[in-house]
């Protein structure tokens, strides 16, 4: 694969030499305040009526016929700049810094880089909420949360309040590729799902891609959540932070080595345990209950052609006294940006990602006589070169590849009873995943632009390991039995899968302010999160595709109409999508997914389909801004062995989803905001009958159907008010108070409805609503910066 890449590089490099009557202007565009590279700045050539955008590193390149041009640089929230460029005899390098204009305007503008970008760009099914908006939106317990904020966007739902992760267009939470500086994050939640692992102070850009996924992305079938960290202020040292109800946050960033580099370190920690400590008596003294995350990033500009970045994330949740557990993600990515020449840009990423958890019965005091200790992890090593080639203003070609190696430890446990020790080892599992891709963004005519590409992924399930041959699936979803076990030696391929993944998107402009977009993509996913519970728990194990578990595949078709009104004051869009999902995983009755060597025998397989329509209206400018999003959707599964092999609604299916986000900037000091959401209840299975056995009233579904009922619908209103103070700490910098109220009208939204025996008389039975948040939750947060 490497050879192929080298060949491509040399090919593109030589191409460049032929064009004599054309010259290239290229460079980096940065934020004047802190030196951060700006992602997606529009670079528009007035004379040629064409343009481009900066890439995720702030780099752009435009090749134009000999001449003098005016480049108009626009980025929402920043001052518009026009730069004159003379492309007469040679290529020009032009780095530009843009000034933040929010001080002047005193209003929040919800990100689109250019006012009419939603209509003009090729991207469809892509949503962004910028950090500034997220910070103004009401948040649970006042903690700004990326994952919770994106759930207000069309097509994004969660199985219930407090559940970890998010669902995109009818896909499972493990079908989202969550990237933090290009390294995958396997569990995006703290405290089971109440808070996401991203520290908002360290995040620069968040982009959710639901469809029309470009060929450089792969590995998950539903969506890509691309989170980019800040690079750190390269102009001056800066200290910022906040004190909230749950977390305290501190961030420090500064330039180093004569402003050629900068770094940022950000730390968050919960402190309920610290506050509670004086109130705990001696028996609970050793109880630990906290979570934290540490984010750090440094960049160094070696010379004009080379920049290196090193970023890391480390987060952990710890709970327990004698019996305790902890889990967390750690990611490290090293990136090297290299500008081969003014038309060819390379970003090479090497990353390491680890998700692990451990449970221990003797956390506080080691017990050699009786104990249980258990740990599990998934480690990813990967190298990923991505090239961008700008041959002319009509085409932007991306190509590259990725090579990943996975090791899975599905569970390693030690049980000690009466001093006798037993190791309960599930064998480690190994897999490799390779991919190469090429894609082109082409402006076909002034009305039509296209994005097309192809990705080929090749997966290998590797030894050392065991492969199981299983009995056929029975009609009533019983556990399958192992017919044969085969042993494979180290490095030997147990099973191989290859998939071509074509990608296509088109934008047909219907005029100045409206367009039609369509897209198709096929995606393959080789890793699966085994989770049979309503909300995913941190104990759920990621498992690789094997001879029994086939890779998940998705084909998605989407069509959208985009229209802006009143000089781009209102942005509207309607999108419809249809998705076919293959090799979806479900579970036998009473499946045992933890520490089970033959876990594959507890899995059932089938297909899925999801379809829906998304409506979106956004007021992007003005003192009063925000959006309304409504999604009508369905997602279903057909699993061999469940529901008499008929289609049934998936547990994440929600028919109606309405979100309203409204922000009002009253004056320089006060901002008010409000969220409202409504969603149909998720499907549930209820018993039709009961029978008494050993005094217990046990449920029985005579028709043996799955998800034939729905729990009641959910709705909720939240408020927040932000007040800017004159100074931060010690009369320096700035500060703000955020007051928020979650669940304003005290609604008990059902997370689930379950049936049970009456507590006093177990032969009597009843239905019970379980609400995660059964009360109004107010919170105050103080943020500062100096």
């Amino acid at each position: 694969m490497k050879k192929l890449l080298l060949l491509l590089v040399s090919l593109f490099s030589t191409w460049n030499a032929y064009s004599q009557d054309k010259f290239t202007v290229s460079g980096y565009i940065k934020d004047a305040a802190n030196g951060e590279g700006l992602i997606g700045v529009s670079v528009y050539v007035q004379e040629a009526k064409t343009g481009t955008q900066t890439n995720p590193y702030g780099f752009y390149s435009l090749t134009l016929p000999k001449g003098t041009y005016n480049l108009v640089l626009t980025y929402v929230g920043f001052e518009k700049i026009t730069k004159k460029v003379e492309l007469l005899s040679q290529d020009v390098k032009l780095d530009v810094e843009l000034k933040d204009d929010s001080k002047l305007l005193q209003e929040v503008v919800i990100t689109t880089k250019k006012a009419d970008d939603n209509v003009k760009s090729l991207e469809m099914s892509v949503n962004k909420v910028d950090i500034k908006t997220m910070q103004k939106m009401p948040a649970l317990l006042g903690e700004v949360d990326i994952i919770k904020s994106i759930q207000f966007l069309p097509g994004v739902t969660s199985v219930g309040e407090g559940a970890s992760g998010f669902n995109v267009r009818g896909g499972g939470i493990d079908q989202n590729l969550v990237l933090l500086d290009e390294a995958p994050v396997y569990n995006s939640s703290h405290l089971f799902g109440f808070f996401s692992v991203f520290n908002p102070d360290a995040v620069k850009d968040v982009k959710l891609i639901k469809g029309g996924i470009p060929s450089q992305y792969g590995g998950r079938v539903s969506s890509i959540l691309d989170v980019r960290m800040k690079e750190g202020n390269s102009k001056k040292p800066q200290f910022s932070g906040g004190i909230g109800s749950i977390f305290s946050r501190f961030t420090y960033e500064r330039p180093f080595l004569k402003d050629k580099g900068s770094f940022i370190v950000a730390l968050r920690r919960s402190y309920i345990d610290i506050l509670a400590k004086p109130f705990l008596n001696s028996d609970l003294k050793g109880t630990s209950f906290y979570f934290y995350d540490f984010t750090a990033k440094a960049n160094y500009r070696v010379n004009e052609k080379n920049t290196v970045f090193l970023s890391g994330y480390f987060g952990r949740d710890t709970f327990g006294a004698d019996f305790g557990f902890n889990w967390g993600n750690a990611t490290t990515s090293f990136r090297w940006n290299h500008v081969f020449n003014n038309k060819l840009f390379l970003n090479n990423t090497i990353f390491y990602s680890n998700y692990d958890y451990a449970l221990q019965s003797d956390l506080k005091q080691k017990n050699d006589q009786d104990a249980f200790r258990w740990k599990s992890n998934i480690i990813t090593y990967s190298i990923k070169p991505d090239f961008t080639y700008y041959p002319n203003t009509k085409n932007t070609i991306t190509f590259g590849g990725q090579q990943t190696y996975y090791t899975f430890n599905p569970g390693q446990a030690v049980a000690i009873s009466g001093g006798v020790e037993r190791t309960i080892g599930l064998d480690d599992k190994f897999a490799s995943e390779s991919a190469i891709y090429v894609g082109n963004e082409q402006k076909l005519t002034s009305k039509i632009s296209l994005l097309y590409g192809l990705r080929y992924s090749l997966y290998n399930y590797l030894g050392k390991g065991k492969a199981y041959d299983l009995s056929p699936v029975s009609n009533d979803g019983e556990r399958r039995s192992i017919i044969k076990t085969s042993e494979y030696s180290w490095g030997k391929s147990i099973q191989q899968y290859g998939n071509f993944e074509p990608r296509f998107a088109a934008n047909i402009s219907l005029g100045q302010d409206n367009s039609i977009k369509l897209s198709y993509n096929r995606l393959a996913q080789y890793l699966h999160l085994l989770s049979n519970t309503t909300a995913s728990s941190p104990l759920d194990v990621w498992t690789p595709s094997s001879n029994n578990i086939k890779p998940q595949l998705a084909d998605q078709y989407a069509l959208g109409y985009f229209h802006n009104f009143k000089d781009n004051l209102f942005e509207t869009s309607v999108e419809v999508y249809y998705k076919d999902l293959y090799n979806q995983i479900d579970y036998v009755r009473n499946a045992d997914l933890l520490l089970n060597p033959a876990v594959e025998a507890d899995l059932l397989f089938g297909k899925g389909r999801a379809y829906g329509a998304e409506f979106y209206v956004k007021k992007a400018k003005g003192k009063f801004n925000g959006w309304v999003s409504y999604t009508l959707a369905r997602t279903e599964r057909k699993i061999e062995g469940l529901n008499q092999n008929n289609w049934f609604p998936s547990r994440i299916d929600k028919t109606h989803n309405l979100s309203v986000v409204a922000i009002y900037d009253l004056n320089k000091r006060w901002t008010f905001s409000s969220n409202f959401t409504f969603s149909t209840g998720t499907p549930a299975s209820f018993p039709t009958n009961k029978f008494i056995w050993q005094g217990y009233a046990l449920p029985h579904n005579y028709y043996d159907t799955r998800n034939a009922y729905r729990i009641p619908s959910s709705h909720r209103l939240d408020f927040a008010a932000t007040r800017q103070t004159k100074y931060g700490f010690f009369k320096r910098g700035t500060g703000e108070w955020v007051f928020s109220v979650y669940n304003v009208y005290n609604r008990r939204n059902p997370f689930s409805v379950f049936v049970r025996q009456n507590e006093t008389d177990p032969t009597k039975t009843e239905a019970v609503r379980y609400a995660v948040f059964g009360s109004i939750i107010p919170a105050v947060t103080y943020n500062f910066k100096f």
Partner: protein
């Protein structure tokens, strides 16, 4: 590993204070009534009981109707028949095992039920059970006043050893002052000496959480604790796990509700009339202790 998940849920609930539950009404279409067989028998020379009832709508809280007029037999592997009779005409079919107990360890037993035109059968096996070696208790003080039992007292545990050879399953029952802990959530089953086949605890002393699980709460001086160890089949191990699972409160980590598989089979496999319930036979070993504060082990 279900128990681990339970512990996990408890931690979860204790840390999250905003959640709440309340009883609501839901509308569900009732299914057709079926025969329900509650047939757990053991090797003790005492009256053995099999209850036959009819299923009814889940939210129909009227009295359960008995299945009357059935013919009920248990046969052992040597073709000896034991007839169960409904003496009081209330669906409770009994057999007095005083003279001829069902005690052939290692042998299979079959249940035969004829109800109306349908014949139902089921097979179980009387597995071996280890004897309980001892019960001891140590001084314990809980950080907060518990719902049941004293805050300061004695925490008991029982000692018994699983047999060598993988796959022995047990049901551990216990009674404080002759009152059995009988809630579904208090069902304690063991696979070998641990929680599940994955835990590889063959031949060990029952592992710690199981050893102390019998107490359920703290004990005071002169309280009695009785521990019964029942041998069960692997099928019954999973059945009881299932019973426990469907009886649990829903939460973030509940699994989808599924029908509990039955081992009661209609002899006519084409018949639409299926039964629910379970037949199992157990060997029992027991031990009883009276808490004596002078014999308690000091707190660790």
């Amino acid at each position: 590993m279900k128990n681990i998940r339970n512990l996990f849920s408890i931690y979860f609930l204790s840390v999250f204070i905003f959640s709440c539950t309340d009883v609501i009404d839901i509308n569900v279409k009732e299914g057709v009534s079926q025969l329900s067989v509650d047939a757990l028998v053991n090797n003790k020379p005492e009256i053995q009981t099999i209850k036959l009832t009819l299923t009814q709508g889940y939210f129909d809280n009227s009295a359960i109707k008995p299945a009357l007029g059935a013919t009920v037999f248990v046969f052992d592997q040597d073709s000896v028949a034991y007839e169960f009779k409904d003496l009081k005409k209330d669906g409770v079919y009994t057999y007095d095992a005083k003279n001829k107990p069902l005690n052939k360890i290692g042998k299979q037993y079959a249940l035969y039920v004829k109800y109306g035109e349908d014949e139902f059968v089921s097979i179980s096996k009387l597995n071996r059970v280890p004897k309980i070696d001892s019960i001891n208790y140590q001084v314990e003080k809980l950080p907060i006043k518990p719902e049941n039992g004293p805050q300061e007292g004695f925490q008991p545990q029982f000692y018994a050893k699983d047999f060598e050879g993988e796959g022995d399953c047990y049901w551990v029952k216990s009674a404080k002052n002759n009152k059995y802990f009988s809630k579904a959530t208090e069902i304690q089953v063991a696979y070998d000496a641990g929680f599940s086949p994955g835990s590889k605890t063959d031949g060990l002393l029952f592992i710690l959480p199981i050893r102390t699980s019998v107490g359920r709460e703290l004990y005071s001086d002169k309280d009695t604790l009785k521990v019964d160890l029942y041998s069960i089949t692997q099928e019954q191990f999973y059945y009881l796990q299932f019973v426990q699972q469907v009886s649990q409160d829903g939460s973030l980590f509940s699994t989808p509700l599924a029908n509990i598989p039955t081992n009661i089979i209609n002899r006519n496999s084409n018949s639409a009339k299926k039964a629910v319930g379970f037949f199992g036979i157990s060997a029992v070993s027991s031990m009883e202790a009276i808490i004596d504060k002078n014999k308690a082990k000091p707190k660790k």
